[in-house]
């Protein structure tokens, strides 16, 4: 648990450092993700401990978005004025994105169409 947490945090840190040094327009944690992926490919296996820790984090991913989402209270006035527009846009855009992504991927996978 502790070793794998240190590994995840260390790779995130390394990612942040690389972003600062190279100015690539990518967030540090995403660079950390790429580094961990390359490391796993190189080692050829996932240590059971790392598997458990990542399962715990990813299994409760929803919880991690609650603090930022509660920030909705800071925008009460804007949501009062533009709430209908915002909700309409978010719903329409989400439906469009889901449909386009799934249809393009399926359309390009011959033999997979069921």
């Amino acid at each position: 648990m502790l070793e794998s947490l240190a590994l995840l945090l260390g790779l995130q840190l390394l990612g942040e450092v690389l972003v600062q040094l190279t100015d690539i327009p990518v967030p540090g944690p995403v660079v950390g993700l790429v580094l961990l992926f390359l490391g796993l490919c190189w080692r050829g296996q996932v240590a059971p401990e790392l598997a458990t820790t990542s399962q715990t984090l990813l299994g409760n991913l929803g919880l991690l978005f609650v603090p930022a989402g509660t920030g909705v209270m800071l925008h009460a006035r804007r949501l009062g004025e533009e709430g209908v527009v915002i909700v309409a846009v978010l719903l329409a855009s989400t439906v469009a994105t889901v449909l386009v992504t799934a249809l393009v991927m399926r359309g390009l996978s011959p033999g997979r169409v069921r």
Partner: protein, 242 residues
């Protein structure tokens, strides 16, 4: 009785409010309650645990007159875990690497099409419906995971804290709508995961993991790559659009 009890509880609240313990514990409890309701209701999509937890917390903070910065003092410890959780996405991704390689072209083109659709439809619909300029700019990166979206929003002149809220709302709407839509399309597990991850980042990925390991891994892949892609595409598209 209550005349003496209430001031006592209030005094205690004011004391606890000053420590990170309260914000942290309340966030956990609100989410657990949201999860419990979701399970009890037979997993009704509209009872999304993230949405329920946020509504409960906002109601409680408003009722007690507690400011968001005070709350966040404690809740930031949970918020912080988004970073290592993003890195951890490499693990399921590695587990599905063979399947991704098998369908590399459809995955990449689906991702590009979805990413473009998310940005263009968000900005375009806001413009058509007469939303303000700040809302429009804050809307552009809304399909990307919170820390990344806030960075993009700041860079293009949006309001990062508004973007954070739009990101969460996008996630919740995707978690509610996408599984039903994709089932009706008879989408395979890989396409289902990819669509959930592109459209609604981590919340979509959390939902995809509930559907299955394969859905979750593809959603995680989509979420990670969409963060890269959107960071590049948004400034580019807004540059053209002016």
């Amino acid at each position: 009785m209550t005349g003496e009890l209430l001031p006592e509880i209030w005094r205690l609240w004011v004391y606890l409010e000053a420590t990170p313990l309260l914000g942290l514990t309340l966030t956990l409890l609100a989410y657990l309650l949201g999860l419990w309701l979701y399970q009890r209701s037979g997993q009704q999509p509209w009872l999304n645990p993230v949405a329920v937890a946020i509504l409960l917390l906002v109601a409680l903070l408003i009722l007690t007159g507690t400011g968001y910065p005070t709350y966040f003092e404690g809740a930031q410890f949970i918020h912080f875990l988004l970073g290592p959780a993003t890195v951890a996405l490499a693990v399921p991704l590695y587990g599905q690497a063979g399947r991704v390689r098998e369908r590399l072209l459809p995955v990449l083109l689906g991702l590009l099409a979805g990413s473009l659709t998310a940005i263009v439809s968000a900005v375009g619909f806001t413009y058509l419906l007469g939303g303000s300029r700040e809302t429009l700019l804050s809307m552009a990166p809304k399909s990307v995971t919170t820390p990344v979206a806030m960075g993009i929003s700041e860079a293009i002149g949006g309001l990062p804290s508004l973007t954070a809220v739009l990101v969460i709302l996008t996630g919740i709407s995707g978690g509610m709508l996408a599984p039903g839509l994709l089932r009706r399309l008879r989408a395979d597990p890989e396409s289902t995961g990819l669509a959930l991850g592109v459209a609604s980042h981590g919340i979509g990925t959390a939902r995809a993991f509930q559907l299955g390991e394969r859905e979750g891994a593809f959603a995680g892949l989509a979420m990670g790559l969409n963060a890269l892609l959107t960071a590049v595409l948004v400034p580019l598209l807004l540059g053209w659009w002016g």
